[in-house]
Symmetry: C2
Subunit: 380 residues, 2 copies
């Protein structure tokens, strides 16, 4: 049973696109599919659609559960549903799996029509710009000219920013949560270690492991553990695990001793079972590449000139992956362009993952912002 | 040629101990050897000896160079030498490789006399307490009853603290740089990822890789990269690498693109060539276990009651591995015991690795502190 207030049982859909898409890398996909889900109803004016963009480890499964997998709750189910901050009684909410993903959209594990075998290493590297282009074609196919809001956290928030730059006429609000205008050297470094762990795993086979009957699980495990540490704050880890031991006393061997070790190994095992390594590589690359200011000589204000959306920018005090200072850079550049920006720095202990948490101050803020959006579209 | 002011060409020595050592784990080594180096001259009063304890990746090679390896400069050569802050014209300085190490002291790659083969997985897990006990026996063998100072950075500083607790009569000063009184959950988490990378490398063979003719290089590479990120500050990485590319423009593949990637891969390759994986595992465990307060119900002040040394505690503002707050915990506990403590928080940008850097404010502080030690022993 889904939790009370959830959108309940949902079904993923598949949209097919036969028009080729030219990618930032210079490669082209002749055709592709996007897996997506929708919650709520598109109104007659077609102006109540909200697009949710996913981050590194997530998918189009944003809310609700599947009939045949009732434990698989959407990753933002606490925020999105009937009566929730993003109220599906008012809004038509769309979750979409990006190109290069591993949850149903065309990606490295899909069949390459040219060869009849999985793409593997031949699947192109994709960027945030590519994803926004593909998402905009999905919007067109669904009959949505303009989104009430495009919204995301972390890498999802980078897509919401890119929407405002690439497709300014097609969104009223951009909601940018726990983001950065570009990765720092340290951010890239953590991504690179994860990639090295995957690509040096003997089961990686240069990316063509699908036909070998193996998966580079060792590398995926390490990648997930590194990621996980950067998603949590030092304080949150101290609070949740501290130096607690799983059993009393040290064992003086290399089995699990501390609870934090047990937790990391469990998360790593779970992730390596369900996530595709080639997708992980490509999504971390999309993160590394994202830097809208680069084409304008590093001037973020200039890069955001095309934007006309209203913005909500949210950061979390304990987020050391993308600290509040990174969000303030975005706010400053938006204000330089005389855009309407609301900014909130939420005093939350959870670190980067706070954007996924059910924090009342955070959720009340999102609720209030969407109340205003709803008032605007109801009056229009 | 060693740099000007260096102690110059040095030679490692080997001390053998036939008296069994009982380890914290319950295991025992019947006999063992310690590799060490000395610089300067022990004075007639035998009161000018300084012991340098090494951290995770270092050894007994603290200063100078080897005749047959002139590029291999001691890891603290910038601090220790004739006329340097720790002046070898005044002090008799000893560097020692710890038990479990891989630079000449008895460790996992040594021959187990019982089997005639390398110890490998059978080499016991060692602790900071074990190291201090072994170091104190080396002091006895060298005719040193009492050190003028025991000194270290990071894990080396934990040994300097432990000396003050375990052997209070045998040191006048404990110099504790870039330390923490125990690892946080986040610290342990990073260590655990490194260990998982090593132990899941197919070339690890359960720790008995010596006889297989392989080395778990993939795991060691990942371990080193993770470590390296935590040794540098975000700002130092931004300053040194930023988002600089190795070539112009993105390649849209998984080769090196950013300079930070190139640097990490290079450091990883170098480390995997020279460091033993079983040693890495054991040293990270020694870090995880270190927690002198644990035996006193978590009360660090109570744990430090046996200490009588004078203390110099130094932290660095940009160190996020062991932040200044962790050093302040130590200072507070020392003051609770009415001990003489000097504390300095150095405003340095380099992160945890600042303790290895040639920062004038830091080095002048060490120089002044050692000037005072020299005045004391000269007057005695």
């Amino acid at each position: 049973m889904p939790p009370e207030g959830s959108v309940g049982v949902v079904s993923p859909k598949l949209a097919r696109f036969e028009e080729p898409i030219a990618l930032a890398s210079g490669a082209q996909l002749d055709a592709y599919e996007l897996a997506y889900e929708t919650y709520g109803t598109l109104n007659a004016a077609r102006n109540n659609a909200v697009l949710i963009c996913h981050a590194l480890n997530a998918s189009h499964h944003v809310a609700g559960v599947y009939a045949d997998d009732p434990a698989n709750l959407g990753w933002w189910d606490n925020l999105i549903g009937p009566g929730k901050p993003v109220d599906t009684d008012r809004f038509f909410v769309i979750g979409v799996n990006n190109i290069g993903g591993c949850h149903g959209s065309t990606g490295p594990s899909s069949i390459n029509p040219t060869t009849g075998r999985p793409w593997g290493a031949d699947f192109p590297v994709v960027t945030v710009e590519d994803w926004v282009e593909a998402q905009s074609r999905l919007a067109t196919q669904l009959g949505i000219d303009r989104f009430a809001a495009v919204m995301g956290g972390s890498l999802g928030a980078m897509q919401a920013m890119q929407w405002a730059v690439s497709q300014p006429a097609r969104l009223a609000h951009s909601i940018v949560i726990a983001a950065a205008p570009k990765l720092s050297a340290q951010n890239i470094a953590f991504n690179e270690v994860a990639r090295q762990a995957i690509t040096t795993d003997p089961d990686f086979h240069g990316g063509n492991y699908y036909l070998q009957g193996v998966v580079p699980k060792r590398g995926l495990r390490i990648a997930r553990m590194i990621g996980h540490i950067t998603y949590l704050s030092d304080d949150a880890m101290a609070e949740k695990f501290g130096r607690d031991l799983r059993e009393s006393g040290f064992k003086f061997n290399f089995d699990v001793e501390f609870q934090i070790e047990s937790y990391l190994r469990y998360q790593a095992d779970k992730f390596a079972e369900r996530f595709d390594a080639n997708t992980y590589l490509r999504i971390t690359k999309a993160l590394d590449y994202f830097d809208p200011a680069a084409a304008r000589g590093g001037n973020l204000s200039a890069a955001l000139e095309p934007a006309s959306a209203n913005f909500l920018v949210v950061s979390f005090t304990s987020d050391w992956r993308f600290s509040p200072a990174r969000s303030r850079e975005i706010v400053k550049a938006l204000l330089d362009n005389r855009l309407r920006v609301s900014y909130a720095e939420i005093d939350a202990p959870h670190g980067h993952d706070a954007f996924l948490m059910d924090d009342p101050r955070y959720h009340n803020l999102i609720r209030a912002y969407f109340d205003n959006i709803f008032r605007d579209i109801s009056g229009s």
